[in-house]
Symmetry: C2
Subunit: 305 residues, 2 copies
């Protein structure tokens, strides 16, 4: 299961009832935060989450509405007693930005591991998760993020017997890739498991103009969260000038990617009721949902649903 | 008239119903903001203020809860169309901190004038205002701020006649310090005005241990806003260790300073209901008020009340 929560759905500046765009991903007790504008630490608390399990923070780009909450977030993580290292992922320059912002958070009880990413695809893995960042088309370097959760094949008794895997290794090979028995013999998971099953895919994209890479990366996602700065169709020029998208432009990407679920986020403060423009997007991609702060979902493997 | 609004009354981290400590001072269309933690820009809007008239931002010290909202604030001021310079006042090092934080707000449509202050007293003046900063006793260099609004004496007809000031200059000398008439003759305000009258005094002090300078600076203030991190009397050791005060310690300073009004602020997140400890302070200084977000007052010159 992968839990996804929209901590905020606003762009540019926080509003009273719409915090800055940010998303929390939770799997097996490890949390990944994407973007951390001013006020994100309050969003985390209002969703009932805690700071300590945040193992990595991914920054899409260095505009203030996506990163200004970082110093406070790091301090609050420290105040909650975190001592394990925290990985901060971002476009080239993330080290310079994080270190500059830490002028007001110089002392932390944990190390920061910086992952500066660039190029067509950059990958970070942990457990059964694989995080891929890819370049977007904004006014400054900006990256989208895709999280893939892998799912091993079913245990195949016939295959295990065919490969002469002793019974003593069966259970452990369903949880770990390799087992060494007391007699020194080594067995691998592929000797007992069928072909990998469909896993989970989550994709987060903001801030950007449309680009082919987006629909390619979001193809078949369980959940594709995408910016839609302007609902109004007549704001396409303004979207183009500011490196953003209209709802319709975002929905075109979803139509090409065909995700199971498609949520819009990162709304302009000039748009008090984004849902008023839901139909603009739904006419293009029916499964569109206009996101709201606090929207959350537990995405499960197919057979578990 | 001087308008004072508590934008927030929290310390350490923002809470859902208690933003980080910050205060807005407004006089004659010019605004002064003291401290700017994460979320202060939302507090400004919730109080019904705008960003553009903020002419100066005073930072008490460089802990994140007092300055982390600065980049977003500067950007919002720019978004509202400000082009006039903004003065940022703070302890020595304020330039380094502001420039580091501006890594995420590099382009602004206005200049920033930095006022690094140190020593026993440092002064900044504009219009009829005089802002004095003074050193506090925190874990890092920290300064308190006093704003004095001067009030000229009444117009004295006898004095004007005695000094042979022509009628043509009377009205203007009540508004400006010096007038040159068409014939080149020069007249000054002190030739027509009586002795200066009592002005207005506002004092803001956080974060600090008790110190004599505080009660000296706050002496006779119209409003003295002071930190009280802990209401509980048994938290004096914790206050001492963290460079803060209990309500009782703050009230002792007020008793020595005898201000007309005394408001506590900067409450620990560990204290859900600061008013529960109001009596602790009121037993020492009866006029104590436990501040709350949004508390505001229009302080008027004596005879205007």
């Amino acid at each position: 299961m992968l839990e996804v929560a929209l901590l905020g759905t606003g762009g540019t500046m926080p509003l009273r009832n719409r915090r800055l765009a940010s998303v929390m991903l939770r799997r097996n007790g490890s949390c990944t935060l994407i973007d951390c504008g001013e006020g994100t630490q309050l969003s985390v608390k209002e969703c009932g989450f805690t700071f300590k399990p945040i193992d990595r923070i991914c920054i899409t780009h260095f505009h203030a509405d996506h990163v200004s909450g970082l110093p406070g977030m790091l301090l609050s993580m420290g105040n909650e007693g975190r001592t394990e290292p925290v990985t901060i992922v971002g476009p080239a320059g993330v080290g310079r930005v994080v270190n500059s912002l830490r002028v007001i958070a110089p002392e932390l009880p944990f190390d920061i591991v910086l992952e500066e990413q660039s190029g067509r695809e950059a990958v970070l893995t942990w457990g059964d998760c694989r995080l891929t960042s890819f370049p977007l088309r904004h006014t400054v370097p900006c990256r989208g993020y895709r999280l893939d959760v892998s799912r091993p094949g079913r245990f195949d008794v016939e295959k295990a017997r065919r490969n002469s895997v002793p019974l003593a290794a069966w259970s452990r090979l369903q949880k770990q890739p390799e087992v060494t028995l007391d007699d020194g013999s080594v067995y691998t998971a592929d000797m007992v498991l069928g072909p990998p099953r469909r896993g989970l895919r989550f994709v987060y994209v903001t801030d950007t103009r449309p680009a082919r890479v987006i629909s390619e990366m979001a193809a078949g996602a369980d959940l594709f969260v995408c910016e839609g700065m302007f609902g109004e169709p007549d704001k396409r020029d303004r979207a183009r000038a500011s490196g953003h998208m209209t709802f319709a432009e975002a929905a075109e990407l979803a139509r090409a990617a065909a995700p199971r679920r498609f949520w819009l986020t990162h709304f302009s403060p000039s748009m008090p009721a984004p849902t008023a423009y839901a139909a603009e997007a739904q006419a293009i991609f029916a499964e569109t949902r206009v996101g709201a702060d606090g929207d959350r979902i537990e995405i499960r493997f197919d057979e578990d649903e």
